[in-house]
Amino acid sequence: MRIDIEHKLTLSLQPGTVHAVLHLLLTPPSGPSQTVESWSVEIAGIGNAGRFSDAYGNAVHLVNQSRPEGDILVAARGVISTRDTNGVLGKPGGEPVPSLYRRVTPLTKAPVTLYGKFRNAKESRLDVLHALMGRIGETLGQPETEDAPTQMQATGEQAQSQSSGEAPELPPAADYAHLFIGAARALDIPARFVCGYVAEGDGPAAGLHAWAEAFDDRLGWIGFDASHQLCPTERYVRLAVGLDAESALPLRTVPVGDITQKAVVKAV
């Protein structure tokens, strides 16, 4: 499938900001499930950006702006061709050792009630992961089918405070991913957070999305979207990975400002 993506972000900083530094994870990688046909990132100062790979293998742009006037606009766009691999990515090179993704972070803590029964499971790791995805779906319910731009930064804590409200909102995709990752890591299975795009079709709404990937010694990395109870299909485009949502954020800045973003994702 060929997928056309246009991801626009707007950063609003306090007036009078002297120096802004932006860390962009806005370059999708080519890999077993996708090939980047064309891609560009536009922002004032991109020509002078620092470019490098981060600890998780993401391509990073470091952009700085002096005395920015008004909002800072970022646009990433391009065409990605995807293949359906049933979520299986294998063991591509150029990535950190999978065991790194057993590290527990504050965002990826799961209650033992979620994974306890899989502790001494006789099933294969793959079966355990599928069962875990099902269990998270039962625990959190089905998410609303709106797109998730602002939900990317939601934390487990926010989800909790939301669910204690009168009309509890269903947790956003990032929370499903965090729970899945936390539970997998508690079972000694490396798991990581993926930030990416989804084209329209069954399942999640088109736009920015988040899911998880877990490592199987035989098959390598496999995607799991617990929010929609499926393994990524050819409609999914991987953008960035990390230990949790924080390390895979498309845009991180100093000083911190308000970020609004929207991704228009279409099959072409």
Partner: protein, 473 residues
């Protein structure tokens, strides 16, 4: 360690003088009454003049203290030093190899020689460092190894300091003061120089500049600022090396490179000897509330445009729980047995060891795994019964949070105590520089517990320092 008389570095048990101290003993015998007391007064004046003071946290502004300096040097024989420095070199090489490994393929974890959880879920492990290749493969360029001596041939490593070890300015000033106070003493012995430390530091820093740097690299010392207790040392070292001393706001990142604001415009910086902790280095990557760091600095480092000294994440190698594995680490990477011993350490997560520890706590030293500077620590023999009970409870509640060691009878050295000379306990922190080669300054900083019988040498707890001599053949 069961022997109650500590090893004295100057006198044998029969009262005869040990070889390395012969010249000193002769000199001491010749000194008229009150000479040492006069020297002590002069020393104080010298240190005030040199400006070596340290700020005491929590006291009124402007309260600057001089760390007590003892006028009797501590002496290490050439052959003793050769052994020690070989052991130190082995250790720092292995620790750097360990850092490279855990931030790349993690072979030592795969081999099960160090438990994976101990590393991966350790607060001192820095995941952002994964896959980064520091210049020359060196992570910890400046290491202070804390060593204690308990016998003629028995040295133990108490702690490896791979973050931002301090105190080297005291080593340098102690020597300078000693040469002013007793120039004649230096004529009687051949003492290895320490004055070239700043030059060696500079060479080390230059040798790890990014490959892209042409010509002489631009070096900066990054300090948290004047309120830091080691600010004097930061400015002293910058001055001695001819490097710029700067604070976070003096630096900025542009196009993935680091620049210093100067009166003649921005100047690119190639190597940063940073004395700011990892967490505060860069609010974009680490603590977002840091006001001390430089936004984008870590990214510039990852992009290969600047070298940070020491690298972030080196603390994983001096973690107290990792310490117990250092002999295994040396074997794993170098295929050699450790030349320097570790202090035997009890693992409280083991039930049998824990039971033994709880029973014998009055004789033991308990340290919090992530504590430092003598905080969160209990020395059994000098602690009260209530403290013993408190730490028993703490260990039972969180056995993985503590390491327990026997109380070591640190060696003693003759020390000037109000007109008299008496033995006092000492330790030793040699300073190691690692760049294109390993450079170990002969000797290091000797800290001395001035209170009779005390084993606590920390300056915050009444410890002083001594000039440390390594004799040359």
């Amino acid at each position: 360690m069961a022997d109650k008389t500590p090893f004295d570095e100057m006198y044998n048990p029969d009262g005869s003088v040990r070889e390395p101290y012969r010249a000193l003993a002769g000199w001491l015998a010749e000194q008229p009454d009150k000479a040492l007391a006069l020297m002590q007064t002069d020393a104080e004046a010298i240190f005030r003049r040199l400006g070596i003071t340290f700020a005491v946290y929590g006291s009124d502004e402007g309260t600057e203290k001089v760390i007590p300096f003892d006028v009797i040097p501590r002496i290490i024989a050439a052959n003793e030093w050769r052994r020690l420095s070989k052991g130190i070199e082995q250790r720092v090489k292995a620790l750097n190899a360990f850092l490279y490994d855990i931030y790349h393929r993690q072979e030592i974890l795969k081999a099960g020689r160090v438990p994976e959880k101990l590393i991966l879920n350790n607060a001192a492990f820095c995941p952002q460092m994964m896959g980064l290749n520091p210049a020359k493969g060196v992570y910890a360029h400046i290491i202070g190894v804390d060593i204690v001596r308990v016998g003629p041939d028995d040295f133990y490593v108490l702690e490896d300091n791979l973050r931002t070890p301090s105190g080297v300015s005291y080593m340098l000033e102690d020597r300078e003061a000693m040469m002013l106070l007793a120039p004649d003493l230096f004529h009687r012995s051949k003492v290895a120089p320490v004055e070239n430390y700043p030059e060696n530091l500079r060479r080390t820093l230059e040798s790890v500049a990014p490959d892209t740097v042409r010509g002489s690299p631009n070096i900066a010392v990054l300090t948290p600022g004047i309120h830091n207790s080691a600010y004097f040392e930061h400015s002293f070292l910058a001055d001695q090396m001819g490097a710029q001393l700067c604070e976070g706001p003096d630096l900025f990142v542009d196009g993935g490179k680091v620049y210093m604001r100067t009166t003649t415009g921005p100047e690119q910086v190639d190597v940063i000897y940073r004395r700011i902790e990892d967490d505060y280095l860069d609010p974009l990557t680490f603590r977002p509330d840091s006001m001390l760091g430089v936004p984008g600095l870590f990214d510039a480092y990852r992009a290969g445009n600047v070298t940070l000294v020491n690298a972030p994440g080196t603390g994983i190698a001096d973690d107290k729980a990792v310490y117990t594995y250092v002999p295994d680490i040396i074997e794993f990477y170098l295929g050699e047995k450790a030349l320097l011993q570790n202090v035997p350490t009890y693992n409280c997560t083991d039930e049998d060891q824990r039971a033994w520890v709880l029973e014998n706590i009055a004789d033991l030293v308990v340290k919090e795994v992530h504590g430092s500077g003598g905080y969160g620590m209990m020395v059994g023999p000098t602690a009260t019964k209530a403290q013993h009970a408190e730490f028993r409870k703490k260990i039972e509640a969180r056995p993985d949070n503590y390491i327990v060691q026997p109380t070591l009878d640190l060696s003693t050295c003759p020390t000037h105590i109000s007109g008299d000379v008496a033995p006092r306990h000492v330790d030793l922190r040699p300073y190691v520089l690692i760049g294109d080669e390993v450079r170990i300054t002969p000797g290091g900083l000797t800290r001395v517990a001035l209170k009779k019988g005390s084993l606590v040498v920390n300056s915050s707890q009444g410890g002083g320092t001594k000039d440390t001599w390594v004799l040359e053949d």
